[in-house]
Symmetry: C2
Subunit: 114 residues, 2 copies
């Protein structure tokens, strides 16, 4: 039962770092087509090996996936994992006392409907 919470903690932790959050943002706005590791490194001004370590954390969290294209490795977001994470956070709120979460109803009309 608490395996879900483990996964949520891992994903929150993956995003709880400046460089990785920036990577995530870039990948989010790039959409399914993704971005190569090298381009991310250049865009963000991060050393390739440092970035590689961060990409590894994001990958292991399940928020990001990778594929090879020639010499490049293209990273992209796993949208289902993102929704899972956001739902996990928001349901914390609405599961208990929905009336206490009225201010959140605009953020998650689905989870808070009721």
């Amino acid at each position: 039962m608490d395996e879900n919470q483990d996964i949520l903690v891992t994903r929150l932790g993956a995003l709880a770092q400046q460089t990785r959050l920036s990577v995530f943002r870039s990948l989010m706005s790039a959409g399914p087509q993704g971005i190569s590791a090298g381009k991310i490194a250049r865009d963000l001004g991060v050393a390739p090996n440092t970035l590689s370590a961060h990409l590894n954390v994001l990958s292991r969290s399940g928020l990001v996936t990778q594929r090879r294209d020639g010499r490049s490795i293209i990273y992209s977001v796993v949208l289902s994992a993102v929704t899972e994470m956001v739902d996990g956070l928001v349901n914390d709120c609405c599961g208990g006392h929905p009336e206490a979460c009225a201010p959140l109803s605009g953020v998650s009309s689905q989870a808070c409907a009721g």
Copy 2:
């Protein structure tokens, strides 16, 4: 420097730990009336001083606030900070390429409407 991103990283980090995420969940379902530090410690089976350190992290992140009631200190969630955090995460997605985020539209109809 992006101060909003700093705050988001801090808040994600505050929740990226088992005990603190459990505390957050408890406080979320307790709503505005909150829970005393002692009761949280008993409910979760955490040493009082350990819990105090975690509550301090949550407080400094702005996700949680405290007030004294007799000898007890009552902690409760700051809902506006929670919405801010969720919005910050979701907007990452919808701000860039909204069409890429169709799968998320159920989660945040507000941010993704467009």
